[in-house]
């Protein structure tokens, strides 16, 4: 079975090929079966392979299968090989299972769209690329998947291309991630140039062997890889594309811009964690960027009115947590949060999609309300996701994954109180904006009509994901609450545990309580501010400082404004000014001079014989003069 590893990405790719080539001629039902079925099959294969892999001794190492050699010369031979280890298996499972659920959801959600087959073709291609990304055994193939998911993200954000805003958002997303990717590709050059291979495992071995901790090369290489991760995972300073990316269909936001693609950066860092461990400065930067991002995005989420934009900022913020975990060396905690986040955030997006569909594309939260009774299943599943996002203590998965990160942010050798404080502040923000969203949409008076209710194909994924968001966390529990280590134990073969200085262990319980308290406080605050006495919030927002802050947060802390003026405007202006290519001016000048000379000389051709005779005379004068006097 495990030899069929290549089948996992091949199935969705086959789906893509069939759909893109013949999709327009197929009936919708066939398109749906092909689109969702190929990913479903892939998920089944992945599960079977996963069971076999976990039960075999291979789980302690890894399994690599080469499909074909991409190219080979001068000792440079990146191949199309897939490598399965516990980390990539985790990713594969999340991608295929969540991917399948979202495909299933899309069957109903997109049912009215004209370009049904195009949608599923792009989605299948995305799953393929994402699987190639996580399964790649060398960085060049990983880069293929990396750009592939970026491409699909571009295509799907701009799926409703008729609105130029969507197309622009798509372009922005691609270009911004591409900026990071370019840093990453230079990192690849550096790694190959210094270490002579791009095969990830071998690369890490050589890096550890050749480079001492903190060496310049390791630092630069890690920093360059980090560039790619920042772009893809929408972290500061390349985060501004993600809120705009919500222009795509909502399932796309769920799959690409919440569950899978945006966490590719986390995966990349976890995958090359040895390298980052060699560069403490960069790793510290990862943690700081994570904290900064989670705070900036948290504040921005507070002020949004658009439901999907809240979720987008929340995604940025949650990935900030993952970066924080990576930054303090808590690799498996980051991956744990990734998995849990994939569940609850895709759940939230799908729930949002259900709401949007039911109310005829109403995304403004202030125009929604009181939907609790009208959409009960959606409400309860959304509530489960929100609770998990807000890390409601004890009963949600989100609590366990976030608690682990906060604990390590304090206790790890690379952690500090400041990082922990940032994380806790972020947790408070998270629960406030999450429940602001819940209260505005589902409570209060009904402000909009429900036109139609989601059907089975949409509800099943919601329920499955809601269950996962609640219970998936119990595979990894802190010491104080049962000390289950299934997840980190499973990843232990790839990701080393966090070194914790002695004497900290006793704090774990206290910190957990603080985190739990913060979450509950946040929910209460949200209840107070947005449901019970909204006047407080209104009054605060109407003061001068309040207005300014609101404006700042609404605009995502002004990064877009800054980039527009600092980068886009000068670039476009310079390009426009130079549209006709100033270099051509010099050639035009030469042509102009020749033309002028021609005009001047041809003016002497008066056609009058006597004038020519004058010319002869002057010429004779000069020549005789030269003969006489020179």
């Amino acid at each position: 079975m495990i030899d069929l590893l290549w089948l996992i990405p091949a199935l969705p790719f086959a789906g893509f090929l069939v759909l893109i080539l013949a999709g327009s001629r197929l009936p919708r039902i066939v398109v749906a079966v092909l689109g969702a079925g190929s990913v479903g099959f892939s998920a089944v294969v992945a599960c079977l392979i996963g069971i076999e892999f976990i039960s075999s001794p291979l789980v302690k190492t890894s399994f690599t299968r080469t499909v074909w050699t991409w190219m080979s010369f001068e000792g440079f031979s990146p191949s199309t090989s897939f490598c399965l280890d516990s980390l990539s298996l985790l990713m594969v499972l999340v991608v295929t299972v969540v991917g399948f659920l979202i495909h299933l959801y899309s069957v109903e959600f997109m049912a009215d769209d004209d370009a049904y087959h195009r949608y599923f073709a792009y989605m299948n291609l995305f799953v393929t690329a994402m699987l190639v990304l996580v399964l790649a055994d060398n960085l060049m193939l990983l880069y293929l998947g990396w750009e592939g998911v970026g491409l699909c993200s571009y295509l799907l954000i701009g799926f409703w291309y008729k609105d130029p805003v969507n197309a622009r958002a798509a372009m922005k997303a691609f270009v911004m991630t591409r900026i990071g990717d370019t840093g990453m590709i230079v990192g690849l050059f550096l790694l190959y140039n210094s270490l002579g291979t791009l095969e990830i495992h071998e690369l890490m071995v050589r890096a550890v062997r050749d480079w001492p901790v903190g060496s310049v090369m390791a630092t630069v290489a890690a920093a360059l890889l980090l560039c790619g991760a920042l772009g893809k995972s929408a972290q500061l300073p390349l985060q501004t594309w993600l809120p705009d990316a919500m222009a795509g269909p909502t399932p796309v936001s769920a799959l690409i811009h919440a569950a899978t693609m945006v966490t590719a950066g986390v995966y990349l860092i976890a995958r090359t964690h040895e390298l980052f461990a060699l560069a403490p400065a960069v790793q510290a930067a990862v943690a700081v960027i994570g904290v900064a991002t989670l705070l900036v995005a948290g504040f921005s989420a507070l002020a949004q009115q658009d439901l999907k934009r809240v979720l987008a900022y929340s995604t940025i913020s949650q990935i900030g947590y993952m970066f924080l975990a990576l930054g303090v060396g808590a690799w498996s905690a980051a991956m744990f949060h990734f998995a849990i986040h994939a569940f609850f955030k895709s759940l939230l997006f799908l729930g949002a999609g259900a709401i949007i569909m039911s109310t005829h594309h109403e995304q403004n939260m202030f125009r929604l309300g009181g939907l609790r009774t009208q959409l009960p299943v959606t409400f309860w599943t959304f509530l489960a996701g929100a609770a998990s996002l807000a890390a409601l203590p004890l009963i949600t998965s989100g609590f366990y994954s976030k608690d682990a990160i906060l604990w390590y942010a304090w206790s790890s050798e690379k952690g500090s109180v400041w990082l922990w404080l940032g994380g806790v502040a972020g947790a408070l923000l998270t629960s406030i904006y999450t429940f602001r969203m819940v209260f505005l949409i589902f409570f209060g008076e009904a402000r909009t009509k429900v036109y139609k209710r989601p059907g089975t194909a949409m509800l099943v994924p919601l329920i499955v994901l809601a269950v996962l968001s609640m219970v998936a966390g119990f595979i990894e529990l802190p010491h104080t609450l049962g000390d289950v280590r299934l997840f980190s134990g499973y990843l232990g073969a790839v990701l080393p545990p966090v070194p914790i200085p002695p004497g900290q262990a006793s704090l774990e319980g206290i910190l957990g309580i603080v985190a739990a308290a913060v979450s509950v406080v946040g929910i209460c605050l949200a209840y107070l501010l947005f449901l019970k006495v909204p006047q407080i919030a209104d009054r605060a927002a109407s003061t001068l400082a309040g207005r300014a802050l609101h404006r700042l947060w609404l605009e995502g802390c002004g990064f877009d404004w800054l980039y527009q003026r600092l980068l886009v405007f000068p670039f476009v202006t310079i390009a426009r000014i130079n549209r006709s290519d100033f270099i051509d001016f010099f050639y035009q000048l030469a042509a102009f001079l020749a033309e002028g000379l021609h005009q001047g000389l041809s003016a002497t051709q008066t056609g009058r014989t006597r004038h020519y005779a004058v010319g002869i005379g002057v010429g004779a004068l000069i020549i005789i003069g030269m003969a006489v006097w020179l």
């Binding site: 041809s602 051709q605 008066t606 056609g607 009058r608 005779a613």
Partner: protein
């Protein structure tokens, strides 16, 4: 026979040549221009003869004969052109023929 410096002969030739040249420049009548060209040719011939007689060699006169030949041919062709010109332009103004203007 006269005993004058050759330079005087050449001087005379130069003056005649200059006068002929002046005529070519000043006159617009094509017949006059041809006459002035004749003057210039004649002046050149004079220079040859003067130089030939300085060394008592026949070459100067030989060149004179050649120049005479050229002048005869030139005048024949030139006057035919004058006639054609007059037929074409209905004038003898040389400046009318400026179709080659650049």
């Amino acid at each position: 026979m006269a005993s004058v410096p050759m330079e005087h002969g050449l001087l005379l030739a130069g003056i005649l040549f200059g006068l002929g040249f002046l005529g070519v420049l000043v006159r617009r009548n094509i017949v006059f221009m041809l006459m002035c060209v004749e003057i210039m040719l004649n002046a050149a011939a004079l220079a040859f003869v003067a130089a030939g007689s300085r060394w008592a060699q026949p070459d100067g006169q030989v060149m004179f004969i050649f120049i005479l030949t050229v002048a005869a041919a030139e005048v024949a062709v030139g006057l035919a052109l004058v006639l054609q010109f007059y037929r074409g332009f209905r004038t003898v103004d040389m400046d009318a023929a400026d179709r080659m203007r650049g």
